[in-house]
Homo-oligomer: 576 residues x 2
């Protein structure tokens, strides 16, 4: 049997031992807090560490596989490189492409990587060029959204484990689709986090989801390596093309080199090494252009960031919703400002936050394609009380308007799975905490949160009820039904138009012209000749723009000279 | 009697009343959380606010004067503008000048602004161009360092109150000396902080000195105004020329526009308005060039920051001390690197912090004069166990070497009061908490801190003992004593040379040449022909540089061709 060098960073304990297939071996400490032991072990060997006098075998913080869950022994696991057939994959630049966000557990009935791979024909037909996979790291339980991970190097076994992820990435590349993986470095889940037994992984501060990760305090260098090596591992070993970094505003880092800047530098280096574009996308609530500014301009140099303002501006204008963080949105003027500037809150007062928020984007140096724009995401659907999609309360034309605004934009559009056919299934908040007290606290927290906003708590789905999970799965049979097929056709046509007409992906925000009539309810976005006109009102409107209609929801009419166009209520038209 | 509009930002209480000279008046709330009442009141009127049903009269957060201490009523107070005689003062640019840090209470026996003003001849003779006054804001007790302030708009009565500060600034300007005021916005002192009764001034987080100030969370806009208006008030109403911002690394601000950037913008605007240079100096432990980078390069655009690395590099090399944060310093190589690059820790491992620290300064875009360099400060003396100045354990030549390295540098040099004559008085940590429990906790905290570093706690001065304060006062009679006068003469000559030879204030770090011999113990800094040679060893050394000796501690000797120079032990020479 070959031998394997087991190693773990563990400056905290006095002694660390490694258990390999039931036999305990001593480990040797180096000066940097690392412990090592060379032990005969084959691929698949079960192992874990014993801290000081404790006889409990706990998983490896860098465990590549957890066949029996996050509380059990780790398993040695090496990807079979013979599986890869993507030698000819040269990657894709993410900015300006079309992303499709999906959750492995609910994208298909089976809820596995392999089942997802079987749906790739649909995505190729749709025309998206990247899939974005919600977090797949190791968490306790059988199903959840993925943001409660505790073993970041592991792939959830229920989805198919690391080999399954490898097969899905390979299948995507075979279809010309890039892969974005959602990764969470700002907190750890409530069950299965053994990191503090090894070293000072956590800091004293807290964010919305618990203790913050130690990326800036004493001994933070190895914690930063833990994060960065995790990120690079997906990009190199798993051939992933981009990472979506969850809630970066919750990283407590005041070091002179922010961890995001450090990660961007190392990702660029890896990109040069593997000779394909690698991209980093931040989820950020800061409206801070620093994230997507070049490093020469004092920025972190990330490729893109999610832009909730665009979502809120479109959603509130189309739906009329004003609750919570939609309060400052709803007018076409707000929408026009947001479309032109990327951030609505750019040094302006945010009533939801109770303070001035954000900073203007310099539209001469930052491309609009650095902003990811969407009309639904897992959050924008799933964080609603009942996880209802926009199609539950908007008509097809309203959905089409939202889609057209995003898909003809200079931003990087993103869809959330099922959006493209107005899926009838909700996407609800679901968990599967095996610990009854944790499950109860989660369910009660969810109900009381929405009760405080006037909901009857009986109407809030129980996140721990498996029916909530099942209800959130896409129903693929419905796709060919007339109403769904019409929406899908519209999405396909918009994405095809985006591919065919280069003007649409011109990334510079100062090249956009926006006109609107607040009273009549129409807005028009002009992209060097390709003009989108949306009629948000229920009644037909005549707009002072002519041109050849290329695409629409309900057919427009024009006068003889084609100098004006009449757009039916709740519809859009693209004019050439 | 004229009437006065009393106003206070107080979103928290249901009712606020104002007591003016013993009569209580109702106040009216506006939508922004401000309460106002117009009440007849003359200058000097005693007033305060009553919160909800509480009959206690508490001071105004923006109180201009607290005649009876920080727990008592505020007093209306307007500066008498007729006092100003500085109409012709056009200000001074701070970068590259020479700053003199002083503590009003211990600078003179009297411990007042007026007594300080009477010493300005000494400072003019010395040649310094700015005084930097340690914090003078309102604190509880009679004397302390000033960092326990709770009423930021007030001037400590014991020093002479606001009128006294006005007189001192006026007197400085009359002598051509600019004024830097030390201000503290990162925490409040432990006694007399009533701010939370008015509104959410404090945030949930904590730093080394207590709760952090709410500069980024909900309702932080008025708190930021509270800070910024305070800063601008010193610069405008009190004619102050620059602010030294205490421990900015302890400001918890992740907003897209950092409060330091906002302050820099508003300070520049005020500077244009008052037509004299106004400067901002940060005390920062971050080694982050962002603070002093131009805003166009993503920085905050502050004028300068304190640079502890320069202090540590000089002090450790000259003194041989290796404890605490000196651990990574001590070699001439380290000193040479620091002198050339400004930061020693610039992405390098800091053993004191247990992590990588800092980021390199771009020496092509950031001037060395943006870094404040010093061989003593209130902290570097007073935070030692017994507050001993370098002259207590170094000889005159060693002090002269330190002074020469700082005063011939491209940085902005700063002296700490008394340094210039090697004052025999220590500068110890002193407090005067009237609350016995607070006094006891402070004294015990101090003793136990140093006990943990091997000190006998009986040797640590009791901060609450008034003798500790008295002992820290400068002894001006000693200045003319031979040994002290010799040091003073050396400082005067160095500052005069700095003024006379423009090469010395060339701010660009890439124009510096540094040579050294680690074994022989000499280091040489070449500034376009003006060369400083320091011999840190006790024995004479011969260095391969000639030139005309301009200035020295002990006289050097040269061979016939003047191609080499022999510098006595513990001495320096400046060669032309």
């Amino acid at each position: 049997m070959e031998s394997h060098v087991f190693e773990v960073w563990a400056p905290t304990p006095d002694t660390v031992r490694v258990s390999v297939d039931g036999t305990v071996h001593p480990m040797t400490k180096s000066s940097q807090g690392w412990w090592t032991a060379e032990v005969p072990a084959a691929d698949g060997a079960r192992y874990g560490f014993l801290i000081d006098d404790d006889d409990a075998v706990i998983p490896d913080p860098r465990s590549p596989r957890q066949p029996d869950g996050v509380h059990a022994a780790s398993a040695l696991h090496t990807l079979d490189t013979d599986v890869w057939t993507d030698e000819s994959w040269t990657g894709r630049r993410l900015p300006g492409s079309v992303i499709y966000e999906l959750h492995i557990g609910t994208f298909t009935a089976e809820g596995t990587f392999d089942a997802a791979a079987a749906k790739l024909d649909h995505l190729v037909d749709l025309g998206v060029t990247f899939v974005e996979i919600m977090p797949v790291n190791g968490f306790n339980g059988t199903h959840n959204w993925g943001y409660d991970g505790v073993l970041w190097y592991t792939v959830h076994e229920g989805y198919g484990g690391p080999d399954g992820l490898q097969r899905l990435v390979n299948a995507c590349h075979a279809r010309g689709i890039g892969v974005v993986l959602d990764v969470v470095y700002n907190h750890l889940g409530p069950s299965g986090n053994y990191l503090e037994k090894f070293g000072p992984y956590m800091s004293q501060g807290a964010n919305s989801w618990g203790q913050t990760v130690n990326v800036a305090e004493e001994h933070s260098d190895p914690v930063r390596r833990y994060i960065i090596e995790n990120a690079l591992r997906w990009l190199s070993d798993f051939h992933v093309d981009a990472l979506r970094l969850d809630a970066v505003h919750a990283l407590a880092d005041n070091r002179a080199v922010h961890i995001l800047e450090q990660l961007a530098i190392e990702t660029e280096r890896l990109s040069a090494h593997v000779r394909r574009p690698l991209s980093l996308i931040a989820e950020s609530d800061l409206n801070d252009p620093k994230l997507i500014s070049p490093r020469a301009a004092g920025g972190y140099g990330l490729d893109a960031q999610w832009d909730d303002d665009i979502h809120h501006a479109i959603h509130a204008a189309v739906s009329g919703e004003k609750q919570g963080y939609y309060a400052d949105f709803g007018h076409l003027e707000t929408l026009a400002t947001t479309l032109r500037r990327g951030f609505f809150h750019a040094g302006t007062y945010s009533s939801f936050r109770g303070r001035v928020h954000g900073k203007p984007i310099d539209v001469r140096t930052i491309r609009g394609s650095s902003l990811v724009a969407y009309t639904t995401t897992h959050d924008q659907v799933g964080n609603r009380a009942i996880g209802d999609r926009p199609g539950f309360y908007l008509d097809g034309g309203q959905l089409a308007i939202k889609a057209a605004l995003v898909l003809t934009s200079p931003y990087t559009p993103m869809l959330f799975m099922g959006e493209e056919w107005n899926a009838s299934s909700p996407f609800q908040f679901f968990t599967s905490h095996p610990e009854p007290e944790l499950g109860k606290a989660t369910a009660e927290g969810r109900k009381s949160e929405f009760a405080s906003h006037g909901w009857d708590s009986d109407d809030i789905p129980d996140p721990q009820d498996v029916a909530t999970y099942d209800r959130s799965k896409l129903i693929w049979d419905e796709v060919s039904d007339d109403e769904h097929a019409r929406v899908l056709d519209c999405y396909r046509s918009l994405i095809a138009l985006r591919r065919d007409r280069i003007e649409i992906t011109d990334p510079w925000l100062d090249h956009i012209g926006v006109d609107y009539d607040e009273d009549k309810g129409w807005i028009s976005v002009n992209r060097a000749g390709v003009r989108l006109v949306c009629n948000l009102s229920p009644d037909p409107v005549t707009v002072p723009f002519g041109g050849v209609p290329l695409l629409w929801w309900d057919a427009p009419t024009q006068d003889e000279t084609a100098s004006t166009t009449t757009v039916p209520g709740h519809s859009f038209v693209v004019l050439d």
